[in-house]
Symmetry: C2
Subunit: 430 residues, 2 copies
């Protein structure tokens, strides 16, 4: 071998995602069997494309891992497009909502209100009235003000309202990074004051304390962290059942299941969850207070992120003071998270590829920017890219969650990106 021998290298996250979820047709990225150049031609760019096949496969993989231990409620905030949510509803999922707007979208997705949960730290009275008058499955109470509100609405609507207590667990129960519980929070009630909360709920005839909801973490990639939280969640549920003096009907263990976004991120190991749920089933079965309860997990990001590709077209390729810039027709106004402005402390690249030049060698690092008149509109920093020119396509992977709906679509009065659902080789705007 000469000294030119190629050094083996680890596959990038983008390469692994393409291998797992997509395909390549020569140089073109293929989503749900459709080449991205065909999608760009059919709908124009920028564009979010979601593959229903990936949505279903992800749902089924999680259901398999849960093995009957828990039902899945889709946290619709991750992707509120009703056609996306409908894929999960058709699979039997419930929906977790956090606003009256999400309630309406969940209904449009075919979900019955009785198959919905409503959480949120400061629900509006009109939101509670509307959802409760339409037979909402369960309200997750998060403040004493809300206990009063819902009790008042129960009297007004002359019905008994099924409620759950949202719990902010103590720190001891947490493992791993990126947890939200264990500290002071706007969400739910601190675990320490549950006796007082349960007593307050029981004071009201119109409230039926049917369950608990754990204030979980977000973007958890370690199955053991998740399982540890769930063990603790069942313990809290058991304690609440004892405080309530009756068995619980629901135990919402929260969401928090993560997906890899950045180089080095691991993938949540569903096989470990599949193994871990056996012990959870036994824990639940052994406890009369929770034995009959429906356990719920409510992922959002995990179910939708990988299905989505944000597709942009290059408008300008230029150099400025030795640095290379690839400026596209899409950017932060459609994909705030990819620009690093949705809570990220360190701005890192989402998996980004030259979607019509997949096999071409990199020319070195480039800044991938959008069309807005602000340096914030940058989605790639020192991103390895082949030679690019106007008309080429750039795709941001892992874009199916917290994409368009979490972005400032009115910024600089740009057009809103289209969303396309691809299913079984067919595609349409949604």
């Amino acid at each position: 071998m000469s000294s030119d021998a190629i050094t083996p290298r680890t596959a990038t996250l983008a390469e692994r995602l393409i291998a797992q979820y997509f395909a390549a047709n020569k140089d073109q990225l293929v989503v749900g069997g459709i080449r991205v150049d065909e999608l760009a031609k059919a709908y124009g760019t920028p564009l979010f494309a979601y593959d229903a096949g990936i949505l279903r496969a992800t749902y089924q993989a999680l259901a398999h891992a849960l093995d009957g231990f828990a039902e899945i409620y889709f946290s619709i905030k991750a992707n509120p497009n009703p056609n996306v949510a409908q894929v999960f509803v058709d699979q039997g999922a419930g929906i977790e909502i956090a606003s009256i707007g999400e309630f309406e979208k969940a209904k449009r997705a075919g979900c019955k209100p009785s198959h919905m949960l409503f959480a949120g730290p400061a629900k509006g009275e009109h939101e509670l009235r509307q959802t409760l008058s339409e037979d909402l499955g369960e309200v997750h109470l998060e403040s004493f003000e809300e206990i009063e509100h819902v009790a008042g609405l129960a009297r007004e609507l002359k019905r008994t309202c099924p409620v759950a207590v949202r719990v902010n667990p103590m720190a001891a129960a947490q493992g791993g990074a990126m947890r939200m519980g264990g500290k002071a929070a706007a969400f739910g009630f601190d675990e320490e004051i549950l006796p007082e909360v349960v007593a307050e709920i029981k004071r009201h005839n119109g409230l039926k304390l049917s369950g608990v909801h754990m204030f979980a973490g977000t973007q958890i990639l370690d199955a053991d962290v998740l399982l540890t939280q769930w063990v603790h969640g069942l313990k809290i549920a058991s304690a609440v059942a004892e405080m309530a003096g009756h068995a619980l009907e629901t135990i919402d263990l929260g969401g928090g299941l993560g997906v890899p976004y950045f180089e080095g991120d691991r993938t949540l190991n569903l096989a470990s969850i599949r193994i871990g749920v056996d012990a959870l089933k036994a824990q639940k079965e052994a406890d009369a207070g929770i034995r009959g309860a429906h356990v719920i997990v409510e992922p959002g990001r995990f179910l939708t992120a990988s299905s989505g590709v944000y597709l942009m077209q290059v408008r300008v390729a230029k150099s400025s003071r030795e640095e290379r810039f690839v400026i596209c027709d899409g950017g932060m106004h459609h994909h705030l998270a990819a620009s690093g402005n949705l809570g990220q402390v360190i701005k890192r690249d989402f998996p980004i590829v030259a979607a019509n030049k997949l096999t071409q060698a990199t020319l070195g690092p480039a800044t991938i920017a959008g069309p807005l008149c602000t340096p914030l509109d940058t989605v790639g920093r020192k991103t390895q890219m082949p030679q690019m020119k106007a008309g080429d396509l750039v795709a941001i992977l892992q874009s199916g969650a917290y994409g368009l709906s979490a972005s400032p679509t009115g910024f600089l009065s740009q057009a809103v990106a289209k969303e396309v659902l691809i299913d079984d080789g067919k595609h349409c705007q949604i």
Copy 2:
């Protein structure tokens, strides 16, 4: 005096802004003569209220400081509500646009296309065609691709298109912090390659090189920094005139005029600008290549930020593990910048007040959160607040720029905030 004597303290930024722009009626913040509780009652919350009187006064103060040296173009991206822009158009302002959407809004504000400038690093061909076919004042060219595009459109439309070169100045010209020029950027052409750029433009009969546009900084609070940039801007303009072989008609010195957002921020000193422009006038007058040019400054933020108040109502006041939380009906989905997620490296509070309890003593620090199911939805961190309860009003000042239009209004499918313009004691939704 006893040891209880109150220590004199410096006024907070919020107090200074209220003294300068607003008023207090007992405990109530007053905007444009209207108490915030009246606004909340009339329109509901959350709500952006803009005072046209402040818009006009700010415009006039800047015009006075510029003393005929430069015309003002409103950078409509800062607040694209046509009714807001119209206030400036009525004062004689032009409008700087960055998209076809902004073009339409500027027209609705009563601005003629001939009184508009179009800048942006990756304008779409349809955007260029539409604006040029409606007699756009000037296109600011930012890439070689764009030179080709506009030249092609000039042929297609059988007209001569007035164009300016957007310049990314060299570092030597920059002073102070928060500058954007001097380094590699997606915007404009590096100063170093201007001869090549001017030659390329001159190759096309359909392009008329009428001006230059300086790629300025943002949020500049130091008048000397601004004046230094302007001096250099005139020098660049002079050089471009020489390269072009003819006098220039326009010199766009950019925007970048800042406003104080955080404690310790100073206020841009317009008196210093008033003094400094005399030398700039002399510099311009002495140079035949630029003597006849219209000088333009194009602030956005500076003209609108202080006029706007974002008003929220408290829904929940709670404690969690010794920390106090005030949870409101508004938050990051309407005001991303105030949540610290619009490019800020360090999250600091905008000026926030208990708008119906202005004179009440603080009870200590509180977290001011919004209704979204995410810890990102936080607009106040350790914010001094009096005792607060559901129904109280919280106002975020300096909210008239990069507010609603720069925010993820679809996030969690919450309702979009209303916008209200108050003018001469009258108010209406806009």
